[in-house]
Amino acid sequence: MNRVAVIDYGMGNLHSVAKAIEHVGENLQVCVTADEKTIMDAHRIIFPGVGAMRDCMGEIKRLGIDDMLRRLVEDRPVFGICVGMQALLEHSEENNGIDCIGLIKGNVKRFPENMSNEQGERLKVPHMGWNEVTQTSTHPMWSGIADGSRFYFVHSYYVVPESADEIVGESSYPETFTAALAAPNVFAVQFHPEKSQTAGLQLYKNFLSWDGGC
């Protein structure tokens, strides 16, 4: 039995995450939970998130999820999604500056105002919709996913890890930004795999067999 905990700290709809994992897995138990024992007993951890960073970090700290994650990444795979990815960094510009968990060195920045593409068209923020993700390095989590596949994004902030070695996927809007990063036992993406149809479901499928290595 593969036990997966989807960490629930009250931010957003996690049912779609749980349903997507159930859709691709066998002999599986998926719990959407904030309970420490359930989380610490799971083999694999999904750390999602939506909404404002101040509220997210407030709940993460109140529930002790930051401490749990520091212990979890020592011995099992953790998959960060969207604001869950951003929260893994050290600091975010959002809400006039918020300290985050700091498992990955680096910061979270906002897309600038008044961006435009090569054709001179104004680019809206949030960056919302399907964008291509270039796999900048090989990783077991990319298995079976074509390089350049489109994933569904909805975000106004993006991560800037201190070490470029941790970047495994990039997208652009219009400048290149980090769409996926990896560290031992950590894989994190800015987009929503549970909303990214075939490619997204494959990513969850890969996570269910990933051993945490790069």
Binding site: S16, W130, H192
Partner: protein
């Protein structure tokens, strides 16, 4: 690497069935919403919008069950609208599996509701639906007004100003329907769409009036929409999603293959 323009089939649902009317009248049955949503997803739709036009309490229960069923099988974004009046309504829809909710009449009657909703659930899941109708004469500068209750009630609100206010209140996206064009198959109101798209910082979905694939292209190139929404051209088999995408790609629009 470029962000793709989105094609969003819209399911207008009443008492658990997909229906489609012309100018909000003349309802035709278009199938089971779960089957329809799954078919569109398999065909490559970029999102699904589900608008509940049921008024009764029993109908609401059916809607929640339908949203749950769709969300269990469709792994692309799902927006649910119709009768969203309270934070509890939003929570119920998100818990049922919606990714975004569309707020229409309640935004007009209580604009602060949009602010509360975006603060509570995040702007990314708050879509404000705007139904606008042209109120200027031919020889006057263009002016559009907001209408509620399926286009029956004028509000006196200027559509462009209203859109800006809704974004300031936290709307993460605008779903813009032209009441003049809805169901007519004459194409989007491109001037309306462009005026609003250029006035706001968030993505705008063009809606109302699609009759052929060129209309989808014009919505993006001339209406400056970030996404195009259509119902009847897909429901009754006139065009498929892949046909629409192929046509748009042929006109130089970036779409998800």
């Amino acid at each position: 690497m470029t962000l793709a323009k989105r094609i969003i089939p819209c399911l207008d649902c009443e008492n658990g069935r997909v229906v489609k009317g012309v100018k909000f009248l003349d309802i035709r049955d278009a199938g089971d919403p779960v089957e329809v949503a799954k078919r569109y997803c398999d065909q490559g739709a970029d999102e699904i919008t589900f608008l509940d036009i049921t008024a009764s309490h029993e109908g609401r229960e059916t809607t929640i069950d339908t949203v749950k069923a769709i969300a269990g099988q469709v792994f692309i974004p799902l927006t649910v609208g119709g009768g969203i009046r309270t934070l509890q309504d939003i929570r119920e829809m998100l818990n049922a599996g919606a990714d975004k909710v569309a707020i229409n009449t309640s935004a007009v009657t209580n604009p602060d509701f949009v602010k509360q909703a975006s603060e509570k659930f995040g702007s990314q899941c708050i879509v404000v639906a705007i139904d606008a109708k042209k109120v200027s004469a031919e020889d006057e500068p263009d002016k559009w007004e907001i209408f509620t209750h399926g286009g029956r009630n004028p509000t006196g609100l200027d559509a462009v100003e209203w859109a800006k206010q809704m974004v300031a209140f936290g709307a993460g996206e605008i779903l813009l329907t032209s009441m003049d064009r809805d169901g007519t198959k004459d194409g989007f109101d491109l001037k309306l769409n462009r005026a609003i798209s250029e006035a706001v910082t968030v993505p705008v979905i063009a809606s109302g009036g699609v009759g052929n694939l060129q209309h989808l292209v014009e919505g993006i190139t001339e209406g400056k929409a970030d996404a195009v929404l259509a119902a009847s051209i897909f429901h009754f088999g006139e065009y498929s999603i892949p046909e629409a995408k192929k046509y748009m790609a042929g006109k130089g629009i970036v779409v998800r293959e």
